[in-house]
Subunit: 147 residues, 10 copies
């Protein structure tokens, strides 16, 4: 079973069982964002996590095994995404990229925000003018090493 | 004075005066992220904001005028950014794009997070294992209209 | 059933039954443009709409379910379309893009026309010199938020 | 004077004189969308139009001459635009391209909407939920010739 | 039967029956260039034409139906073609594109040669120095509309 | 004087003298298409031709010399042209490329139409339904050599 | 049998029979470079050549027929090749392209080396410092035609 | 003096003095292909070579110095060249790339032809059917190392 | 069996048998980096190596044969890799490419580091601040040949 | 003084003074690879380092200031480099990318080699068969964080 076949099996089982990502995450014992990423082939689970995920989805050992593989990451198959929801994150990077660079360097010096030692959260913020999506990214600051 | 010449003038004056983005933002009375974006040609100021920005930077009416123009946005001049700090945001979109899509749709239904009715913050989170960069994006959820 | 398989099933059933998009839209109770977009995998239906669409097409529960999924949008699979009908809309954007930017900013200030809170109509305008295609796009103006 | 230098001269004069596109269009006696396109180097004026445009802008014969040249069209200098206002029109083409193809073919048969025998209008539609941008494109239907 | 499957069926039948494009065109009653384009999925036939084409190729109703569909056009699947015969037409556009622009504008004013209200012919011109390929393209001149 | 500077000088002189490409071609004693191509930097003149061209344009020895240089060809600076007039020739190649391949191979066997041993003509064909642009390309057929 | 299926059949038969390209070329009576190109779908054989090739490979009439088809050429499926052996030829074109242009124009005038009326040879040149690959390309010089 | 300025100076001096590449190569004491490549910024000369080149061109010490710099190579500024002479070498790589791979591997095993330990020659081969361009590339075979 | 099918068979067998790349490399008698590259279709084995690899993986003669084929190299199927581990090597090339050029030329003169006569090692370097990945690349210096 | 102007000033001064990168690095007190990267605009110096660098190069305060700026990184201005020395590192990533992924994951688990907490060395390894370039990259292993 390849990682792509595993993702398809997960999506089909989730639909058939009527599960939400949140329910699966609760069963796995991890945050919904990370759990979804892992099940979509963008992170690797350990044996206990994979076993719990397969269990709630009613899937077998092959899936348990595949979920522990370090996947080749990159979830959208396009250089510039066409899906409007995903594109908005590309747009943020295009419009605010130089700003993020200036502000992070001002606060931290030369270096980057890690996308590996990194967590992300998605929250719904109630608002009378229309609820808002709040995405929080937090990554370790990695200063450039000199040698 | 074109918007690009304005940006160059701002950067030169900021360097010459030894100002931080935070100091300029305080003078303008806006958040440092938005102020930086506006000065880098990614947002437009009103007359009062532009006047205060020009004042602290010691720049003239031409700059005040240019800062009120609606700029052609897109700050990085490349489809995939090569600068490592900016690239990490591209990487987040590549790796977590499908996850953001699934989780936001699960919480909100079909629609997107606006990148226009949108705010962003950058904070330094102290951490014994190394301080962390926390980037918070918050945009209004826009449900797809049916007709 | 993936969303692509669903689209193929819809197209095959439409052809076999000799239905027009307008007839399907009437059965669904929605505008023909939106209904066509939804059936081509660019919008999501609710249960009632999907049930009516499946009914007139003679398709089953799997299709009803798939039509309610939030699809990954982007209908043409190319960065610059080669089909001449679709290309003309790319050309309008290339030739008149800067004009739309100037005129919309002049009328509304800094911001955009939403492509989400958005409707579109296609009409045939009789004309002795040859009938004309009238495409009306209407989207909410979203002013850039300052913070 | 090249066409690009002409565009720069027009923009500088418009800013210096504090003119709106609508005022210039009124002076020229043409629609604001077409007039703006022509002044931005996407359409060519005749001598009378160019003379009136130059007059209100306070520009000379060189501009009058340049505005009559058939320009090399394409206003955005990028394959996929990064400016959010212009990108939304790219997004409409990406998301609704196959829909436009189906609906126009259903109404008209095989052919295209001309982008040459074409007019466009931009209107502000008042709306209690937020005013809306209405863009109307109207082009002659051109049926594919057989031979 | 999709349009691509239809094209494959046509090519296989043509090869099996040993027919030339000219023979099929004669049976259809159309020019060989147009007939070939239609059979390769770049134009749509009416019922009578499709019936005659299917008849001489020994194919059934599904093909007759598919040949009447308005196809998604674009025959080469590459942005810059690698096949040398097709590339030469790309080269002509690259090398002589600005010349065609100047000469057509000089003769006709601002506008284009239509590629829709358009015919094309290919002829063999005997020549002692080696026979020559003569490709004649004729399209209606479409002047840019002003409004 | 580089070839690009030469082209600019030619265009400025042509405009200043109010000459048409046809008039310059008559002075040079060559076809208007070839003459235009040569003056736009896509072909090289001999000394006599360059001298006559420079004479009617009122330009000096540097231009005469530059016009004899073998230029680096490619007139449009883009992979897919955005100018609508030039794009239509790209569209013809995209839509009819596979047809040209089939029909030319049927008439000539394996090989290509030369774009070097090649001539092109542009004519205005009067037509009550609107005059037509007739572009005739004629190139030597080059059969693939076997060895 | 498509041309691609034919190429696969040839490669499988060659491997199964343990034949070299040279042995097949000897059977066909053509140079090994041309024979290999033809069998890889980059040139077309006549009936006698195809019959001999199919015979030594133990393949049937379908292959004989397919090998006579004028193939859509382009053997590498990438714009810039990633295979190091093939890339070196891309590198030669990148590094020495302007040199080839200057030197060929100096020796021959304005024109090109034909890649159609063209032969190529690959030889092993013994050398004490390591044997060398000698690739000889020879193409007819085609002078640009004037008209 | 940058390497690009050096190249421009060389080209201007060559034109002004009416020198051929062959004459300069003779003065330098190197092959015309290598000398041209070096002067066009694709190879580096030693002091003696650079001095002789500068001398015949009538250029100074700055040029002598610049010609000894290891240049950033890549002479055509485009991924796929548009100039027809240079494109033919791209076409050879596209059409015959897989053939070169098969034939060189058959003769030498796994490895490549070096483009560094490499020489190239261009010759004019008289031919009653039209003289031919003969390009000979010879590079050391580099076998893949195992470890 | 194609090379891609061979790679899939190897990966499936490795997973099923629970083997590490190191264990397979030990069986083959080669370095783990080279062995992995060869099994992933980026290098070719000799008969003895392929036999040992197939043996430990429990695979048959077809695999032994396929592993001896010179593969078409290029392991990532993207121009810019999206997988973060692989991307970091692209980033090193982007950020330090000009530095490598300067430093290698300073130490060696004009030429390159061979990627063919080349070995690579990956080691784990224990470090109290977090273990480090050490990648050592060693390639023969190839000086540019003059002629 | 922009960062690009600073780089140009550094290169000109280095050439004029006949300094090697090693000599400048010794003056700065840093490794030659890091020092070169910093001077080429790919890393930022502190005040002491910048002062020492400017001093040995004979440059002023503006350079000292510019060298402390966090530069926008990316040194080669192309997606796929054309310079052969730099390209070989792209080739290593293309050919050995999947191998590096497998081997590093086998030794370390899911994560990456940091390109920020990273050092690089270039050494000359004497070898009777030709000296070798040894490039050592060492980056902290960053395990993917779960949450």
């Amino acid at each position: 079973m390849t990682r792509d076949e595993c993702t398809e099996a997960v999506l089909a089982a989730k639909l058939a069982k009527g599960l939400s990502w949140q329910q699966i995450a609760d069963a796995v014992g991890r945050h919904v964002v990370w759990t979804t990423a892992a099940l979509l082939g963008q992170a690797s689970m350990d044996d206990a996590e994979a076993t719990k995920a397969a269990e709630i989805l009613g899937l077998g050992r092959e899936v348990v095994q595949a979920l522990q593989h370090c996947p080749t990451k990159g979830s959208i198959g396009e250089i510039v995404p066409t899906d409007p929801l995903i594109y908005r994150f590309y747009e943020v990077m295009q419009v605010y990229g130089s700003t993020l660079k200036e502000v992070i360097h001002e606060q931290f010096g030369d270096g980057i925000m890690s996308a590996i030692d990194f967590t992300m959260d998605v929250e719904r913020v109630p608002d009378p003018g229309g609820d808002r999506v709040k995405v929080t990214m937090e990554g370790k600051f990695l200063p450039y090493k000199k040698w």
